[in-house]
Amino acid sequence: MVSTTLEPSKHKLAEYIHLLESGQALLKDSPEHVLEVVGILHSYGVVLDAYSNNLCYIADNQFLVFFPFFKYFNGEVSRERLFHHWWHERINFEYAEYCMKAMLWHGGGGLDAYVDSPEFREAVEKVIQAKFKNNWVILGLHNIFTEFLPEQMRQMAYYSGLGQFWRVMSDIFMSLSARYDKGEIKSIPDVVQHILDGLVADANKPITYKVTIEDKVYEIIPQSAGLTFLMDTGVPYVEAIFFRGTPFPGTISYNAQAYQIPHDQARFAYGALYADPLPVGSAGIPPTLLMQDMRHYLPEYLHEVYRKTLREEDDLRVQICQTFQRSMFCVTTAAIKGLAPHPLNTTDPEEQKANRAYLENWMDRFVTSQILKANS
């Protein structure tokens, strides 16, 4: 533990600032928390793998398809799969799309800037011309509504970007689970360190996007664009999904006309760290879909913990959501550590001061989050 020479913070969440400064995480360390977090990240890893594959499939194969009826089938359409899909006992890829759209809408990072660049527009134009070269109706419409098809391709770029981001995250979570099973992960700081190491290892992994039309490859986001995993997809993802989110109809009905939703997107606080784990009635709330998906892949040791609660499996999705939020505070801790101006265990007073300001800035955003409940 590193002792700080600074005065104790007077922030409302000073306790968590001091925890971070002393090498701990936003989630307090306990064997129960470790078991829950690793267990839920295992099931999240499995689900992210499926989401990632599907997002990449859609980006690579369903681009500029106006009615992509079978986009969730990954190219394997059969009657059995169709009935399975309608039965809804499946992976809800809708959640992945919800995240993609939230990222596209909130923007941020290099990916957001690149899809608005002339290079991107030029690349996309080539794809449009190739895709519809014999379809003069669509090309005619494209000349009238010049933004429609490029916007579809921007969305595809986000499909691909998020798919690639989740590919890495899925692998990180699965390897975390494997290490826990081997006894290498024993505490919440271990969990955070594992995630941080994974993020750092792949921080500069290039984010690219290319499609193939009639055996010809079209590079839409080339490696030369310089987009990287951490800063261009990871950070915007945390901002869009963990913090801002979208005001979906859940426990609270929002009335935009009554100014219940802020004008400034940056002030949105509907993300995963703020979400109310208690759904009320409305089916299909995106976070509920994710919990439903993770429910299928819970490791036995975590399932056993849930079975021993008061409601047993009656409120499984709420319990998963609460655990998931805990795990997301670990992932956020890794992001905070990774993005900190100086190592959080620095002994240099100036660096400590800069870190304190940095952390207080983060904590301002956590005031209305579920951080206290996650630690209760």
Binding site: I252, D276, L278, G281, L310, R311, E312, D315, R317, V318
Partner: protein, 523 residues
């Protein structure tokens, strides 16, 4: 066969009481369940043997008992008592099933419960005025103990209040019965022989007055109602189920059987006043229900309002209105029992019935979603939403009473409208919104706790979709009760177009052909 319905629960109560040694609580529960199940099976056997086309007493048993007193052990069942006897056996089984398995002093509890059931069924079957009075009084004793021992915090007060009111009710009923025998010069209390005496209207009114007050206390009708909300609030859930579902019906059954049966002309003479009292009672019950914060009190005041519809239907005194009265008895028995069961589950799981403390119970994960859904269904049935038994009963009540007492009926209709107001207020507060932190950790509702409510829900919907299954048992009897020598007793009967009645009856509610053919013959 009818004796079995009385003696089986009595013997069951005796067996539980005399079982030697310290026995597990569950053993008493099992015995009570077996006895109640056998009684229900006997009832089901009755269904196959009962002739619904006959207006006569069936399965009659008549044994002399205390001859010098004119008391005979005279039992019989007809279309008026048959549905209530069935309701009693069903709700007794449900009440036993819904009882907490770990209830204290279980030996006494289950004995009392079976004794209560025996008393109620005895009163429904008695064809001797004194025998009816005996059973009417017998059921007071176990009910007093059931409230006084296993009730809530103010149980002693509520039980004593109940005892005083219902004892007074019994005395007034007895006074009326004694008056009938003395003034008619008859030597016994046999119902059939007293029925055709044709007492002068003034004498009938004199005897009807104490009977009505006695029965109004039992039903209860405003302003004799004050014991009921206290009794309901303090009684445990199974007892509230029996109280609302069956025991209050002793009052309305008494009105039809003895008020209409023994004093038809006197009844017809004061019918408009009774209709007015019914309208006041309906509006008063509904208004009080709006102001309540305790869910159980809301259902209790709702009970007062809905029981008043039976009175207005009985006051109208036409074949259609009397069958409507019987249907309303069944409907109220099923719906109020369901609502009390559901409120009981809410109380058991949350520890409160205060509508201001409860919110968001419909939450699919952490709340009581199925219980809440059943509550909403019960509320809809109580409001008279089509497709459920409440609609059939209330529609028939208002359809049959409107031509006779238009203003009173319209006031009762306002009461029905208010049902939606007070129940939706409760549902909105208790079941919608977000669960409070205090309510986020509610225990599970087990399937066994939901099962009784499911049975009642199924009946409420089944009778709502197929009212014929209820109507057919009572038609002949209620038609007979409403007429003397082919004349409808109601003073305003000419206002009701018989052809219209027939059309409505056959087309709108799919009543069997029998009612129209009988009417054709009569008119």
């Amino acid at each position: 066969m009818l004796s079995a319905l009385i003696w089986l629960p009595l013997l069951g109560a005796l067996a539980i009481g005399l079982l030697p040694g310290k026995t597990e609580a569950n053993r008493f529960r099992s015995i009570a369940l077996v006895v109640a199940s056998i009684v229900l099976v006997v009832n089901l056997l009755l269904i196959f043997q009962f002739d619904p086309n006959s207006a006569q007493m069936q399965f009659v048993e008549n044994l002399p008992w205390i001859e010098w007193l004119g008391l005979n052990y005279h039992l019989g069942i007809d279309g008026l008592s048959f549905p209530l006897v069935f309701l009693n056996s069903l709700l007794t089984l449900i009440a036993i099933f819904a009882t907490n398995k770990n209830i204290e002093r279980s030996r006494l509890y289950y004995s009392m419960l079976l004794l209560l059931s025996a008393g109620a069924v005895g009163a429904f079957l008695a064809q001797d005025l004194l025998l009816f009075f005996l059973f009417y009084e017998v059921e007071i004793i176990p009910l007093y103990f059931l409230i006084a021992i296993w009730g809530g915090k103010r149980r002693a007060y509520a039980a004593m209040k109940f005892l005083l009111y219902t004892a007074l009710s019994g005395i007034l009923v007895l006074a009326s019965f004694l008056g009938v025998v003395w003034l008619s010069g008859d030597s016994n209390f046999d119902y059939e022989s007293l029925r055709g005496l044709g007492l002068p209207v003034a004498t009938q009114l004199l005897l009807l007055a104490p009977l009505l007050v006695g029965l109004f206390i039992k039903i209860p009708i405003f302003p004799f109602h004050t014991w009921l909300p206290d009794a309901h609030v303090e009684a445990s859930t199974p007892i509230s189920v029996l109280l609302a579902g069956v025991l209050l019906k002793l009052g309305t059954y008494g009105l039809l059987r003895f008020g209409v049966g023994l004093f038809p002309e006197g009844w017809a003479a004061i019918a408009p006043w009774m209709a007015t009292l019914a309208a006041i009672s309906a509006l008063y019950g509904a208004s009080c229900a709006i102001a309540q914060k305790d869910m159980k009190k809301v259902v209790a005041y709702s009970s007062i309002a809905h029981m008043a519809y039976i009175l207005i239907a009985a006051a109208a005194l036409t074949p259609l209105s009397l069958i409507a009265a019987v249907l309303q008895m069944i409907s109220h028995g099923l719906i109020s029992a369901l609502l009390f069961l559901v409120v009981g589950v809410v109380y058991k799981k949350t520890g409160t019935r205060d509508v201001d403390s409860l919110t968001g119970l419909l939450n699919p994960e952490r709340g009581l979603p199925i219980t809440g859904s059943i509550m909403i269904l019960g509320v809809m049935a109580s409001c008279g939403i089509p497709g459920m038994v409440g609609f059939i009963a209330e529609f028939l009540v208002f359809r049959s009473t409107f031509p006779i007492f238009p203003i009173q009926t319209l006031l009762c209709l306002v009461g029905t409208g208010l049902t939606a107001v007070y129940f939706l207020l409760v549902v909105n507060r208790v079941f919608f919104g977000r669960l409070t932190e205090k309510l986020e950790r509610l225990p599970q509702v087990k399937w066994s706790e939901r099962a009784p409510a499911f049975v009642l829900t199924a009946l409420i919907i089944a009778f709502g979709i197929q009212p014929n299954w209820m109507v057919r048992w009572s038609e002949a009897q209620t038609t007979s009760l409403a007429t003397i020598d082919g004349q409808i007793l109601s003073q305003n009967s000419q206002k009701l177009e018989i052809s219209e009645l027939k059309n409505n009856f056959t087309q709108n509610i799919s009543t069997p052909q029998i009612i129209s053919t009988e009417m054709s013959q009569r008119y």
